[in-house]
């Protein structure tokens, strides 16, 4: 009787193990099958790696005008897709990165590139940090160089005279004057 139960128990354990095995391999198969689907999100075809790299760099550097603070590469907005398509087309036509950026700035303005150009309206943006650094440097140097000098100068004429007298008297070894100072 006991043996019979044991056999059933063993049998069901084997079945459970098998089910787990099927689940495991099934999931693994699904994950592996899905991989090409993830990779297949964009359908851009390139002749060579260099061309593809150029495209990837461009869409990473170009900003989506519709979305706030997302580049074209990250955005799924309809407009971002159109702009990616156009960028792809221009890359395929053999346009240089500069030409492609100019093309898009021409239409969407400086907003579309993350790196703003250096011009009259943006000079402060570029030079600003340098100016602040120079300012801090200037203040630092001034403070460190001038402080001792200032203290040396901060003696009135009467005090200078007194100092001279003291030094003179010390040289001549006049103890009475030195006592006078201590007082």
């Amino acid at each position: 009787m006991d043996k019979g139960i044991n056999r059933v128990w063993k049998g069901s354990r084997r079945a459970i193990n098998m089910a787990y095995g099927i689940l495991f391999w099934g999931f693994l198969a699904i994950i592996l099958l899905l991989q090409p689907a993830f990779a297949g999100i964009d359908i851009y075809q390139f002749d060579n790696v260099k061309e593809e790299q150029r495209f990837r760099d461009l869409i990473a550097e170009l900003r989506c005008p519709k979305c706030q603070n997302q580049n074209l590469a990250d955005s799924n907005a309809g407009l971002a897709k159109d702009l990616k398509d156009r960028t792809y087309q221009l890359v395929k036509e053999g346009k240089t990165n500069k030409e492609i950026k100019n093309y898009l700035v021409d239409r969407y303005g400086d907003f579309i590139i993350y790196k703003p150009p250096f011009r009259l309206s943006t000079w402060l943006l570029w030079i600003g940090p340098l100016l602040v650094l120079l300012l801090v440097f200037g203040v630092f140097i001034r403070k460190n160089l001038k402080t001792p000098k200032n203290q040396a100068m901060d003696i009135s004429l009467a005090e200078q005279q007194r100092l001279k007298n003291l030094l003179d008297s010390r040289e001549s070894g006049n103890s009475e004057t030195s006592r006078h100072i201590d007082a």
Binding site: P65, K66, Q68, G78, L79, D82, L83, R86, V105, D106, R107, Y108, G109, D110, F111
Partner: protein, 178 residues
Amino acid sequence: MRNKAFIYLVPFLLFIALSGVLFFALGKDPKLLPSAKLGKPFPEFELPSLHKPEQMLSKAQLTGEVVLVNVWATWCVSCLVEHPMLTKLSQDGVIIHGLNYKDVRPAAITFLENHGNPYRQIIFDEAGGLGLDLGVYGAPETYFLDKTGQIRYRHVGIIMPDVWQNKLQAVYQALLQE
């Protein structure tokens, strides 16, 4: 001594100035981008008319008069909101051309049958190519063209009656006076 007190005040004053700048920038809509096309000619194009697919439209059809070019689509809910205002403007004699942007032709035609057609010519830009050349980043957008076909103003978003009264009407009238 006074000089020194002033130096200690500098960071505080800088802080006040920065706060001011940030405070006023709060009211600015970061979604409004300046148009790169202001003062430049309307881009050349060759696209079919919405109602007559065989009829090709080009820039020549938009020049010669002061016109508004309104970018719209049936998928754009704000365009539906804007529609009555466009209808009113066209009744007042403002020439409005439509740029049907990335839309489906039958849907657009049905839309106009249901809500009326304020447009003189409607360019059917299915692929959005002209939109891209214009720098359109969302509908509705309205471009003000002078007689020579130059883009003189761009309004992004719905033309609300008060916006027209307070701002756009003056822009339009000034173009007419030229």
